[in-house]
């Protein structure tokens, strides 16, 4: 089992890194979002430090959702998805591996970029570490939840916007606990671990619901 899983992971990773440079585009989009926020709220560094974790989280959410429309669509266009459906491997596992590869190519760069962007937002080292830790734990959940939207809209020609609309309500809990655990580390209204562990739990729940739901949706979309 491990060999085909590894092969699939490597294939997806290679495709997403080489075709179109999705990792770089995601990070650029993240940078663009973080850059426009100060133009909207003003260059007050204290304010930016206060809402910095929220800005980074919203930027990561948008970057993840916008990058997800190609998760299954490219494979559907060239017929790979049909081969995967017929290959007899558990489709839920295939989806999970594809999501992992997609996260490694697009989510992980966002996590790596977060401390650098934190400098723009006047975050101190503790909050920078907290935001990065929450993003590391939380962005997989965003990818997995978004995968449901991606598989539902896979047969639509322009499903990107609809994917984001469908994904945002489901991603709200992740956003809430991501931001509140980062806030907890900075101003500690509650212990950091309480929301952080709930965030971990949300990621685990997403790792179960996401692949099952999107595998079901992909089966229906194919026939």
């Amino acid at each position: 089992m491990t060999s085909w899983a590894m092969a699939l992971f490597q294939r997806d990773l290679r495709l997403s890194v080489r075709v179109g440079g999705s990792a770089l585009v995601g990070v650029l989009f993240f940078l663009a979002v973080v850059t426009v926020i100060p133009f909207g709220v003003g260059p007050d560094l204290n304010l930016l430090a206060r809402i910095g974790p929220a800005i980074l989280w919203i930027g990561a959410l948008l970057a993840t959702l916008l990058g997800l429309d190609r998760l299954f669509q490219a494979d559907r266009d060239d017929g790979t998805l049909d081969l995967m459906l017929m290959a007899g491997r558990p489709l839920e596992l295939v989806v999970l591996i594809k999501c992992l590869a997609h996260w490694t190519a697009t989510g992980l760069p966002l996590v790596v970029a977060a401390p650098v962007l934190g400098i723009f937002l006047n975050l101190d080292p503790v909050s920078m570490a907290a935001v990065t830790a929450t993003l590391l734990v939380g962005t997989p959940a965003l990818t997995l939840i978004g995968a449901i939207g991606a598989s539902l809209t896979v047969s639509l020609r322009r499903g990107g916007l609809l994917l984001a609309v469908l994904g945002v309500p489901l991603a709200i809990p992740v956003l809430i606990f991501g931001v509140s655990s980062a806030d907890a580390a900075i101003r500690d209204p509650v212990p950091f671990l309480t929301p952080f562990l709930i965030l971990c739990a949300l990621s685990l729940i997403a790792a179960v619901i996401g692949p099952i739901a999107s595998a079901t949706a992909l089966r229906f979309a194919s026939d």
């Binding site: 539902l152 609309v165 309500p169 709200i172 809430i176 606990f177 509140s180 619901i209 979309a221």
Partner: protein, 254 residues
């Protein structure tokens, strides 16, 4: 097994035709009694005055926006598990009604909030969850619209509805958490057992009236959807029957 008998759309339509007039009459009766009670019998609130009467619209609407999602969830299970042919019709027709009731709950809540809290909108936990629910209804309706094939759209929407049903408690819980963290001073609200019977009775009658109205609208919408699909099928058959003729006519010219 009445449940399976009504898998046949024609039989279902006959059932709707028989039941709908009675249900409509009952609904109108309850509305007449409920509206009379809530506007003339129920006392004014000593603090809120007449604005308390908004409650008789607001609370039933809020209750129905949850019930409507439950109906959609059951229908989605019907689509995916039992493959009941009318389940996706039911889910599809329930979505706009649910969205309308959610919208009504939001609007009446805002109108009630302005004189009471001094603002149309607060990011209270309940309001926020209802707003998220509204977005989910609209997303589902959009998904239905964007897919041409009603069967495929029904299955996709059923998956999304079930994922949403799993997520709604999580969303509710996290919004509660977020709200207590950000906004410690909570807004005033009614607590269940302290409602006086003079207020409770009109509220219950109105809740029954709204529930009946939901079923009337739902059955009507399901009937329309079945007829719409029949028209679609007839058109497609007519189109495919008409197809060979122009092709045959074009052939001699070549």
């Amino acid at each position: 097994m009445a449940f399976w008998d009504y898998a046949n759309p024609t039989r279902f339509l006959r059932f709707v035709q028989a039941v709908l007039p009675w249900l409509t009459g009952l609904c109108l009766l309850f509305f007449a009694v409920g509206l009379y009670m809530s506007f003339f019998v129920a006392p004014e609130d000593y603090q809120q005055g007449d604005t308390v009467r908004i409650m008789y619209i607001h609370v039933p609407a809020a209750w129905l926006c949850m019930m409507c999602y439950s109906v959609m969830t059951l229908s989605s299970i019907g689509t995916l598990v039992w493959k009941h042919p009318l389940a996706d019709v039911s889910a599809k027709s329930a979505a706009p009604i649910g969205a309308a009731f959610t919208f009504m709950a939001l609007v009446t809540g805002a109108l009630w909030g302005k004189p009471m809290w001094g603002t149309y909108w607060v990011w209270d936990a309940r309001l926020t969850s209802v707003l998220v629910l509204f977005i989910m209804y609209l997303g589902l309706m959009t998904l239905w619209r964007t897919m041409e094939d009603p069967i495929k759209a029904g299955k996709a929407a059923a998956v999304l509805t079930l994922v949403g049903a799993l997520n709604l408690p999580i969303i509710k819980f996290s919004v509660d958490w977020w709200n207590t963290l950000h906004q410690p001073a909570s807004v005033m609200r009614f607590d269940g057992p302290t409602i006086h019977p003079d207020i409770l009775w009109p509220l219950l009658v109105m809740a029954v009236a709204f529930t009946l109205m939901f079923f009337v609208l739902h059955l009507m919408a399901m009937r329309n959807e079945i007829l719409r699909r029949r028209v679609r099928a007839l058109r497609m058959r007519a189109a495919s029957a008409a197809q060979p003729a122009p092709a045959g006519a074009a052939q001699p010219a070549e």
